[in-house]
């Protein structure tokens, strides 16, 4: 009750100079906005990566064509990885237990009058095991489908829903249009729903034999990646596997000593490490911004509170004459400082939230996630700043001599 009345009192005195109050809290507003936005982005990215990586074993290696440069300009990627490379890796590298060639492309899919865009993944019968992603109905493509280049397709959960709704899809004929024109495929399976995996919506995918994708849909001579699994996730084994792959592919691609690779090998673990490092750097930058702007914000608040104490010296004298204890005066100004700061923080949260939303709409890479925890922490930080920076002005107010204060002009 007492506290509540002080709150009302401080709202009133802030309302007397609304613009001044806002300017004084600008530091806090910006600081909190930056923190909230950055945390929403970080949180969103983490969520994306986490769902991707935990379902993909950390003994995975990605072999991709190297980026082709002319001078400093990137002009594309090499057409260096061949289907046969995947077989060779599996056969020759004893630190590797699986190697799946993949091509990934966009395609237009049609079932009678229904159309949809999907990503067409050319893969092998090993896909399910490596990605821990199973068929929900029907069956997956098998080894002979891959060998013969069969026109069979396994639909992602969303693709199935968009084309067939609730009706059965198995055995139906769909048309996929790739770079080489439209081709008919028989639906042999539907995958279970899985959502986003590392920035790819696997439910919007259609999986076809890699050979079919290369020869009949897109006319490709090279694969876009080879996904390999090391025999163990040990760092030593992963390094050994990388070394074996490099040696083998350089030999197969006839690259002379001293020339750069026309491919790159990245371990899943390194992605995770890189992301963790990025996350840490981002975190440090984030907290530095937060720290600096809260210090600046704190100075702003201390300044406005010192002005308020001077302006209201007489009021303080009157309050003391009416029986206010020193602690009452101190409390009044402390609460005022934290109220300004808290309100600044609240504005900052709104701004940060808006900023995160804007970034989400502009980049469309991931969803930003503003957690209640982040909001509570930002507000807590703002209020804490208010209390700390209000401390000195409030103390000054409470130490005033009542007689001097009453005489103050």
């Amino acid at each position: 009750m007492f506290f509540f009345r002080i709150m009302i009192m401080s709202f009133r005195s802030l309302w007397v100079h609304p613009l001044r109050s806002v300017l004084a809290t600008l530091g806090v507003i910006i600081g909190v906005a930056a923190v909230v936005a950055a945390m929403a982005i970080l949180e969103g990215m983490s969520a994306r990566f986490a769902t991707g990586f935990e379902s993909m074993g950390s003994n995975k290696l990605y072999i991709m064509p190297a980026v082709q440069r002319r001078g400093h300009r990137t002009v594309g990627v090499f057409d260096s990885l061949k289907l046969a490379d995947a077989d060779a890796i599996l056969k020759e590298c004893n630190a590797i237990r699986t190697a799946i060639p993949q091509v990934m492309n966009a395609g237009l899919v049609k079932y009678f009058s229904k159309n949809t865009n999907a990503s067409i993944l050319g893969s092998t019968e090993q896909y399910c095991k490596v990605n821990s992603h199973e068929v929900a109905e029907g069956e997956f493509i098998n080894r002979s489908d891959v060998q013969t280049g069969a026109s069979v397709a396994v639909l992602g959960a969303n693709v199935k829903r968009e084309l067939f709704g609730g009706r059965p899809a198995l055995g139906e004929r769909i048309k996929i249009t790739g770079a080489m024109g439209a081709r008919g495929f028989t639906v042999i399976g539907v995958m279970e729903a899985k959502g986003n995996v590392a920035f790819t919506d696997v439910d919007k995918q259609i999986i076809v034999p890699v050979t079919t994708a290369m020869d009949k849909l897109y006319g490709l001579k090279a694969v876009s990646a080879i996904v390999a699994e090391a025999v163990s996730p040990d760092d030593a084994k992963i390094d050994e596997a990388k070394a074996q792959i490099k040696k083998l592919l350089r030999a197969r691609h006839k690259i002379r000593a001293g020339k750069p690779d026309d491919f790159q090998v990245q371990a899943q673990k390194e992605f995770v490490k890189q992301f963790a490092m990025f996350q840490n750097i981002f975190g440090v930058v984030l907290w530095s911004i937060a720290g600096i702007s809260l210090v600046v914000g704190g100075i702003g608040i201390m300044n406005i509170m010192l002005v308020a104490v001077t302006e209201r010296t007489r009021e303080i004298g009157v309050r003391m004459a009416m029986g206010a204890q020193r602690i009452d005066v101190m409390q009044q100004f402390l609460i005022e400082a934290s109220v300004v700061s808290f309100l600044g923080g609240a504005l900052g949260v709104l701004m940060g939230w808006g900023m995160a939303g804007m970034i989400e709409n502009l980049t469309r890479l991931f969803e930003t996630i503003t957690t209640a925890w982040a909001v509570a922490m930002a507000l807590g930080m703002a209020t804490f700043t208010g209390i700390i920076s209000g401390l000195y002005p409030a103390w000054k107010a409470s130490r005033l001599d009542p007689v001097e204060a009453l005489r103050y002009e």
Partner: protein
């Protein structure tokens, strides 16, 4: 100790560089409960200093002050604040209302620090007592000087103090409004409150029961006001000339 206020050899000194100002210089004084006292004297004679000490806003340099049987000159800041809150009501020349808050909120301040509940009800009752109930929601800037001073009086009486201390309460008001204010003091006096008014207007001082005149931090005269004198004081419309030595004729005549 029966006296409400008992001062014993009270001094208040201010060190101003080399010189020492004796704002109060050995004051002896007793005031009984229910008295109506006027303190007069030339500018700089120590009236306000006396008021601040009586009001427990300040501590004496030496000497003792008993208020209602308690030795307040030895109290801590915290205890003094409680005394000011419970036993004393202040009325100032410049009203000292908090701007931009309503009359009701201003009157609520002492209740607020007394941690009482029913704040609004008690504050409204105090405003009613000074005839400003209908103006409760008005801010000081929307009130006349006389009304502001009435709000200030309501604020002074809201905690039902034993003593009202008023330093030049009519100093910023015209004669007629000043009289209204003095009338309210009379009413409060009738209801048993002890009233101490600092003034250098003789017409105001004569409305009290007792006049204390100060000079150079000392009490130089302390006498009751007789009825005939009082009537003259009430009739006087012009403020008396500032009190200087030698005393103005009216005061000298009264001595005889």
């Amino acid at each position: 100790m029966a006296a409400l206020i008992h001062l014993e050899n009270l001094t208040k000194h201010y060190q101003m560089g080399e010189t020492m100002v004796r704002a109060l210089d050995g004051v002896e004084l007793q005031i009984q409960p229910g008295e109506f006292v006027a303190i007069t004297g030339a500018s700089g004679s120590g009236k306000s200093t006396m008021m601040h000490l009586l009001g427990c806003l300040d501590r004496p340099t030496t000497g003792a002050y008993w208020l209602d049987g308690e030795l307040v000159s030895a109290m801590t800041d915290r205890q003094l604040a409680v005394i000011r809150n419970r036993k004393i009501g202040f009325v100032f020349q410049t009203f000292n209302l908090i701007q931009r808050t309503s009359a009701l909120d201003n009157v609520s301040i002492p209740l607020f620090y007394a941690r009482v509940t029913r704040v609004a009800e008690l504050a409204r009752r105090a405003l009613d007592r000074v005839g400003l109930g209908p103006r409760a929601s008005h801010a000081p800037s929307e009130l006349s000087g006389g009304e502001c001073q009435r709000v200030a009086i309501a604020r002074a009486i809201v905690n039902e103090p034993k003593i009202i201390l008023a330093d030049e309460p009519t100093g910023n008001l015209d004669t007629r409004t000043g009289k209204q204010i003095m009338d309210i003091f009379h009413e409060l006096h009738q209801s048993g409150v002890t009233i101490i008014v600092v003034t250098h207007e003789m017409s105001v001082a004569l409305q009290a029961e007792r006049i204390i005149r100060m000079r150079d931090g000392k009490i130089v005269e302390d006498r009751p006001v007789d009825r005939a004198e009082k009537t003259r004081g009430e009739e006087a419309t012009e403020p008396a000339t500032p009190d200087r030595e030698p005393s103005p004729p009216m005061a000298r005549r009264a001595k005889v």
